[in-house]
Symmetry: C2
Subunit: 266 residues, 2 copies
């Protein structure tokens, strides 16, 4: 399964895109998940050339979405253009929290659905696949009001699967009692599969509480088997947000990513 490994560049937060690409090549990793801030540092065209010359597949671009922010349309159009030029498998959508420090969760969710409806035709025109990512409920207030895979699938369902899919990240969905049923339902809507572990105790900065595979409490073989049973055969990204991982030498981090992936999903 190692040939399906893709490095999400957020895992080596301090590395430039050129450095991250070189690390993938050094470790025999054939895919990379990109982040817009690192792409924009060198420009989209240069980024495209860099990954193409290295023979890397762009397994995702992070991120569009944030439909509950006033400036979402311009930002998402820019993200679509970048995703198209990078030939990314999917543009990951993090849909946004409750706006303005408020409490109206229902209204925020309605905004997400409306934003998606506006964005989908543009994505279809540009040949970009959108991936709605449910985020762990700990982020529901301030980052993403889409909290379960079932909810993401409800949002995706009105649209063709090759235009609107879902992103399955173990960190966000591992706890869901309905995970098996919703993964089976997801089928060919699974646009990306991302891995990182759930650490206990949860670190103080919960945004950075993710761990290397095997360091936490997630049953990766069980979830991988469900994703496989749903028919997904695509790349598998490792994406770790963690201050200690980011402080480690990037080459060491990528080596650990590769080793753990091979061990956990053997």
């Amino acid at each position: 399964v190692i040939e399906r490994l893709s490095l999400n560049q957020a895992t080596v937060k301090r590395a430039t895109l050129a450095e991250a690409v070189a690390l993938c090549v050094a470790e025999g990793i054939t895919g990379i998940g990109l982040w817009r801030d690192r792409v924009e540092e060198i420009g989209v065209r240069a980024a495209r050339e860099l990954v193409a010359e290295a023979g890397l597949r762009v397994t995702s671009l992070c991120r569009g979405g944030f439909f509950t922010s006033p400036d979402w349309p311009a930002d998402n159009l820019s993200a679509l253009e970048q995703a198209a030029e990078l030939r990314a498998d999917v543009l990951v959508l993090v849909c946004g929290g409750i706006p303005g420090g408020g409490t109206d969760l229902a209204e925020a969710r309605a905004r997400v659905a409306a934003g998606l409806a506006a964005l989908v035709p543009r994505a279809a025109d540009m040949g970009v696949r959108l991936g709605i990512e449910p985020l762990h409920p700990i982020f529901a207030a301030d980052r993403c009001v889409v909290s379960t895979l079932g909810q993401a699938l409800d949002l995706a369902e009105p649209y063709p699967a090759d235009t609107v899919g879902v992103v399955v990240d173990t960190y966000h969905v591992w706890w869901d009692p309905d995970l098996a049923g919703q993964l089976a339902r997801a089928g060919d809507r699974i646009a990306a599969f991302q891995l990182c572990d759930w650490l206990v105790p949860v670190p103080a900065d919960n945004l950075l509480g993710r761990g290397h595979l095997g360091d936490g409490r997630i049953d990766f073989p069980a979830i991988a088997a469900l994703v496989a049973a749903a028919g997904y055969t695509g790349p598998i990204e490792v994406e770790i947000f963690n201050a200690d991982v980011w402080d480690a030498p990037p080459a060491e981090t990528v080596r650990t990513v590769r080793e753990r992936f091979a061990t956990v999903l053997r």
Copy 2:
């Protein structure tokens, strides 16, 4: 609605039971949710006399459960006896996390179902109502593998509603996209309704990240309306785990609890 307010004594963590009871009387609060550690300090009989003399209703006893720990049977029998003697409306069950630092979530959930099956006949014999409390998914690994109201209802459903109910705590369920549907389904299984707010950013110790009503991002009127529509007319507890709230003078905390309750649920 103020006559339905009950003070969960965890909100005044540093107060003894006698102090908490006196604070309820002083503020005209007619119900109290008890914790076993504070009850055991003075003994169950003395605790019963204390609340009865003050004219307080015991709206809950926290807690039984932790079915994934080896010593759960003895501890739960003790909890049942205490709940019966205190004439508590419900014994709250916090069901336990994944045991032994492991990753087998499915097995942990099976243990919870098995533990419940063993406990229910004893509870029925003793006339104690059990309340399964789903905890926020942030606690799924280390505290409670029951993460949604729907999952709690699935566990409760094989048993009579007056023996096995569910505990609805806004902090744990507010984010759930299926909340309206599951509350409607819950109906007379709602054994307790607890309130506290979701703070942003989430404090470093996420166990203590709860706030006074109105300080966070939960839409209390919306959730209270759903609970009312489900037919629940019982007490409404305020239960806040928060280091700052605990460090405040208890009398001030209880006054704030009462004021915020009246404002938010007016």
